[in-house]
């Protein structure tokens, strides 16, 4: 065939028209982007229940490998006890979770039961994507009599309850005592250490180990917005004030970023590109979880996952303070929430499952402290002794610091979910020396302002 063509005249393709046609087709796919309206409002009645036939509900969460395994165990147990109910688990990491949730919500395919976060409850509730749980609380489907009152209220938007906290935890410092010992550096005293001391000791660790173990993990990437919030609160400011407006000054942000810059330049932190890679790896790749670092900022409920990676005991420390007086801006935060989608076809069944998750001993025994210390105070006390060592350490630490903590902030405004990614981007630019701390702070405030507008 080829030889025939070679000796003969030019083959007829490609012609002008053919090229143009193919190109037009490809071009059009460029603009094929968009979604249809999310359908469905809040279901007025209980929707379909197991009496009407088999109920199938989707259940989404984010988390580490440890959590995925435990949550699947929960699902299996609930299904075995509740004939006719099947629950389809659906999990990802934190960052992908929100893209996926937004997309499925827009498509009217939101998971019935979802894990929610402080940053996003308003975002979804204000747009009627979450079911108001008040009727289910009133009729007793969801029992809130044993829930920690202060914390349970954090899921409310005006008078409606859109989300029930799973538990509480605190953002704090996690250190690896072995790493300090190996470096021959004394573990700092959590009640009196200062931010400067934190950077100095971390730099010592890196130096003593010849860069094999870094003193600390960056502040601005993993949980950066919470880290800064604690810093701002220590200085009498806040990330957002009660009116949902920016609650901090540019100077405070500059000071906080200067700590990060100092840590990066002194070698307390890994080089910026390693920092970026470690952050992208999540909890499982944390410096303290892989033996490559002596400290990092993590939520108290993340200790078990970190410990599993490290293979030996890790410890908590309080946040450092400016004055070294222990008057920290730390607070107990609802670790995450359970919420029900307003699209859910079986809200009654979903509410029953939710009640089981927070109020049944079996469920709490499986979840343990992975989603924060249980919001059900009776069960919290009950499971405390059954927790593994890191879990007990978390309980003890939270109990110890509770008297010194500030009140949890109210639900942040819509758009608060963007703060973390904006903060992360500027932190990266600062670490890579692409922008001055002052310019970054100024631009950060402008961007946040327009994000929450």
């Amino acid at each position: 065939m080829h030889t025939i063509r070679r000796n003969g005249a030019r083959a007829p393709w490609p012609t002008r028209l053919g090229v143009a046609g193919g190109v037009l087709g490809l071009l059009l796919t460029t603009a094929a982007c968009g979604g249809d309206d999310g359908g469905g409002g809040a279901a007025a009645d209980g929707g379909t229940t197991r009496e009407d036939g088999p109920v199938n509900m989707r259940f989404s969460w984010w988390g580490s490998d440890t959590r995925h395994a435990a949550t699947q165990e929960l699902i299996d147990l609930y299904e075995s006890q509740n004939e006719g109910v099947t629950i389809e688990g659906d999990f990802t990491g934190f960052a992908d979770y929100w893209d996926r949730l937004a997309t499925s919500t827009a498509g009217g395919e939101a998971p019935c039961i979802m894990q929610q976060d402080t940053r996003y409850v308003r975002e979804y509730a204000d747009r009627n994507a979450l079911l108001d749980l008040s009727p289910y609380i009133e009729d007793g489907t969801i029992d809130n009599s044993n829930l920690d009152e202060n914390v349970a209220e954090t899921g409310m938007v005006e008078d409606a309850t859109y989300a029930i906290p799973t538990g509480v935890n605190a953002f704090s410092v996690v250190i690896d005592p072995q790493a300090y010992a190996a470096a021959g550096v004394e573990v700092p005293d959590g009640e009196s250490w200062t931010w400067d001391e934190m950077v100095e000791t971390a730099a010592q660790v890196t130096q003593a180990t010849g860069g094999q173990v870094y003193g600390m993990q960056a502040m601005g990437l993993n949980g950066g917005d919470t880290n800064f919030e604690v810093y701002a609160r220590e200085h009498g400011e806040a990330l957002f004030d009660e009116n949902g407006e920016i609650g901090f000054t540019q100077e405070t942000l500059v000071d906080w970023w200067n700590i990060e810059k100092q840590a990066s330049e002194s070698g307390a932190e890994p080089p910026p590109s390693t920092t970026v890679e470690v952050f992208n790896g999540g909890v499982d790749q944390a410096l303290v979880a892989t033996g490559r670092g002596a400290s990092g900022f993590w939520w108290t409920n993340e200790l078990p996952a970190l410990t599993a990676g490290a293979g030996h005991e890790l410890q908590f420390l309080r946040f450092p303070t400016e004055e070294g007086n222990g008057e920290t801006g730390m607070y107990l935060k609802p670790a995450m929430f359970w919420a029900i989608s307003s699209d859910c076809e079986s809200p009654q069944e979903a509410a029953m499952f939710l009640d089981w998750l927070i109020n049944s001993e079996e469920a709490v025994n499986i979840i343990k402290a992975d989603r924060g210390l249980p919001v059900n105070t009776e069960l919290r006390d009950q499971i405390a002794p059954t927790l593994d060592a890191p879990g007990q350490a978390a309980v003890a630490f939270v109990e110890e610091i509770t008297p010194d903590l500030q009140d949890p902030p109210a639900l942040p405004p819509q758009g608060a979910g963007e703060v973390q990614s904006i903060l992360q981007r500027y932190t990266e630019q600062i670490l890579f020396d692409q922008i001055s701390v002052e310019d970054a702070a100024e631009q950060f405030m402008t961007e946040v302002e327009s994000a929450i507008a």
Binding site: A20, G22, L26, C33, G34, S273, N280, Q424, F432
Partner: protein, 320 residues
């Protein structure tokens, strides 16, 4: 020989034509004969309508609205388009995308042509080589390859282990350093040269050998033959590949999304246009703005393609 084949097939068509319209052809058969092609087209047409045209129309409408993804769109006229011009990240994403297209497309095409010419020399096991080189094209846009890429080009990845082994002290983290991240993605795109290569190969095979014979009789060397015979005769195919790969490159998403973990980082150095569009739409509940961005991209790509077509008059040789 091929021209005689062509003629004979044309004759056959002439034979059939009168028979089809002949008076003795049954009416019903003729009707179903007309319907059949449309039936066969129907699945494709349904796809076009519901999967392509529908969303396109929807996004055209949404681009004039404030649409939070959850909830209903609100008409705001041209605000979204005005907003772009005050959006520094919009400019950053344009910059990243244009650098990527301008560097990776010519490199990829040159590489594809080079390998096509080697393969065209009649190697043994041509089919095998062709498949092997084509493979990256099939895999290049996939998630798995992007993850693999991230591993290979990480600070402690395969590449850096090799570099350290051969004596480089401090190789950078290729995908986690803003100075190199985009370059790494460009290399990934160049690596997927298989699709244009296969098209080049087919094109090369259609250039009649007599031109080369004539050229060499006239004393033209290999280089001269390449510039005077191969390139002009191949120009329609180069043009086709250029336009196609340019459009493809503008739509790059997966690689950047996976390699940067969806952020376009480090420090926005891999903030591709489509990735930014995705972030606005699905990450920040800003689907109206995202739709406007999509339409602006269509304008850019459409405009560049038009320029390409106009410019092609001056360098593409159609021969017909």
């Amino acid at each position: 020989m091929s021209s005689t084949l062509d003629v004979s097939s044309r004759e056959r068509q002439h034979d059939e034509a009168p028979r089809r319209g002949g008076p003795d052809a049954p009416r019903t058969k003729r009707k179903s004969g007309r319907l059949a092609p449309y039936l066969f087209l129907a699945p494709w047409f349904a796809g076009l309508l519901f999967i392509t045209a529908g969303p396109i129309a929807a996004s055209a409408y949404l681009s004039f609205t404030d649409y939070s993804l959850i909830g209903s769109p609100e008409w705001i006229g041209l605000d979204n388009f005005q907003r772009m011009f005050n959006d520094p990240r919009f400019y950053q994403s344009l910059k990243v995308t244009f650098i990527y297209v301008a560097v990776s497309v010519p490199l990829q095409l040159a590489f594809a042509l080079f390998l096509a010419m080697i393969l065209d020399r009649g190697l043994k096991g041509l089919a095998l080589y062709r498949s092997v080189y084509y493979l990256p094209s099939l895999l290049g846009g996939s998630v798995a390859i992007a993850i693999l890429w991230r591993q290979i080009f990480g600070s402690d990845g395969l590449l850096n282990q090799v570099l350290r082994f051969v004596g480089f002290e401090n190789p950078p983290g290729w995908v986690s350093n803003p100075d190199y991240a985009l370059g790494t993605l460009i290399v990934l795109n160049v690596w997927t040269f298989g699709a244009p290569m296969v098209i080049f190969l087919a094109g090369l095979r259609q250039i009649p050998t007599m031109y080369y014979e004539a050229a060499s009789l006239d004393g033209a060397g290999k280089a001269r033959q390449f510039f005077q015979v191969t390139l002009p005769l191949l120009s329609p195919i180069i043009f086709f590949n250029l336009v196609l790969q340019t459009i493809n490159a503008f739509q790059t998403f997966t690689q950047a999304f996976i390699v940067s973990g969806g952020t376009g980082g480090p420090a926005d150095s891999t903030l591709f246009y489509t990735l930014y569009l995705y972030q606005r739409g699905f990450g920040n509940f800003d689907m109206g703005y995202a739709s406007a961005l999509a339409w602006f991209l269509l304008l850019i790509v459409g405009g560049l393609t038009a320029i390409n077509f106009i410019a092609s008059k001056y360098w593409v040789f159609y021969g017909d």
